[in-house]
Symmetry: C2
Subunit: 360 residues, 2 copies
Amino acid sequence: MIDKNRIDKVYRQLEKIGVEQMIISDPVAIFYMTGKWIFPGERFLGLLIKKGSEPVLFLNELFSFAEDCGAKKVYFKDTDFVINVIRPFIESEKILGVDKNLTANFLLAMIESNIAKNFCNASIAIDSARAIKDEAEREKMRISSNVNDMAMDEFKKLLRDGVTELEVAESMLGIYKKLGASRYSFDPIVAFGKNAADGHHMPDNTALKEGDGVLFDVGCVVNEYCSDMTRCFFWKKEPTAIQKEVYNLVRSANEEAEKMLRAGIKLQDIDKKARDIITEGGHGSEFTHRLGHFIGIEDHEFGDVSMANENLTQAGNVFSIEPGIYIPEVVGVRIEDLALITEDGCEILNNYSKEIEVLG
Amino acid sequence: MIDKNRIDKVYRQLEKIGVEQMIISDPVAIFYMTGKWIFPGERFLGLLIKKGSEPVLFLNELFSFAEDCGAKKVYFKDTDFVINVIRPFIESEKILGVDKNLTANFLLAMIESNIAKNFCNASIAIDSARAIKDEAEREKMRISSNVNDMAMDEFKKLLRDGVTELEVAESMLGIYKKLGASRYSFDPIVAFGKNAADGHHMPDNTALKEGDGVLFDVGCVVNEYCSDMTRCFFWKKEPTAIQKEVYNLVRSANEEAEKMLRAGIKLQDIDKKARDIITEGGHGSEFTHRLGHFIGIEDHEFGDVSMANENLTQAGNVFSIEPGIYIPEVVGVRIEDLALITEDGCEILNNYSKEIEVLG
């Protein structure tokens, strides 16, 4: 069903950019508004919203469904010219906001058919609304990260001498499912030894051996909301001096950044806090990415914690805090939690220990 | 590396629609042209092609790679306005062809920045080229379907009284991988009993029982090319009269349609052949979809075998022949092969038996 509070949030954002009508085509955004997943593949899907009018959902009859989703349903066939189906509902003398993900075949057809006075990318309205999680969403984010905490305990048990990253990774989905998740929020990263120093590393046939660091960057989807956490362990041997130095510096950057979190601070200042700690520790150039990204229904949502983002945190934001240090061919450590900004501070959604832990 | 024959095929198609420059953004189309997979997520990716000029690949430096792909590489950063990076390479007084999948955020920015005189969806040029497989592609399609034939034998062995569709489906990926496939070409359909009569059925907790029909619609990716085959079996009991009637009618539609295949015939006539057989058998209204779809790097590619498609078959086309009959709550049967149109006839890429087979 159309969520009245969410659609009102979107209307308020549309007002700010001077757009009175918008066609939303991204299945994720439509799920956010209606609670209904529709995946039309290459076929058109659109939810038209106009303040004061009932929303209208345009969809191919192949994807028809019986239940009420709070929008008037307008079906079309493969043989219909979909622009003609949409046209009667659009105020042609006004701007039409479209979704950033609307594909060129449909957008060019709309432009050539003059169904509106002009077109603009209005996704910021939905992105801004989605960046502020309501209470139902916050609870789902908590549960998803709680499952991720439990899964991390199981993932550690998959380690043994000679096991490959791929073997470990391939067992993870089953563990998540047993714990109540429906799927990965992203393909898990399992990196042994120096592989952890490669930011693009995907699990391969590297076998685990004594002295390796082990990096798990993992997340799942529970009730359609994502978790995402990174932890690093050591296999069968106390960390070397450099492993320990890097680990403690990353941990300190993670913890100090989390301590400052509350509503009303600049996102770039959070990144700076973590980056300064790592830079002062002599590893600034090896922290090669932004501190964090927003997350929710998707693993990466609009908004980030980076030097470039001057926006202020708001209650309801959920983002990752994930400093890392990567010394090629030597060591890589990243420690990542999800943080929820609340009305009176912040909740860290992961509760998994960050103490140095030697396994095996 | 840019495949010279493929890019020439695309240029010939662009000439037909009067477009002299095109930006290709679909990762699949870029793979087709260059042999290189790049997945930039929400970031811009574009391959600019102009006859007589070296192709130019625009990509975010996060996705930089060392090897030569046959195109000039132009990198940009997250902080660059990508339109300004592209602009110097575009002939602004001419039409710019864009990819049907280019997203609105980039297309609207291009339009607002006037980087070309006009914009059109030029994907037909690539789609038409991709619809005609060259010899290397044909060989990959043969191998992929060959793996699919071998996998079907293994999938049958997963059946036992009480096993659920989900349990069977979850074992399939491992079997494909052992046989040399890299992934599914689509999520496998496993349907027991009356579930096979539901065209949208996804594997669930339905348990196999004596007398059930079993439908497997499955495919894998080998060397980046897809297979796709459907077979139906019967569990522990000879088919009933209606099961047998429907099976034999579908088989006859499949086989008669395949017999007529050669270059130069209308795609709609192939659909008609199969549809007429099923209609004459009294089940026309229960054959609820088109006869087939084109396939290659993607499971569903541009082109289909349907009543609406007046185009002629050409040597190098690969498409499915998949008639089906679905009697709700009673029985569902579909029999699907992939067919390759050749210079002197046709090759059916699947060799799996279509004889009625009672398992268990």
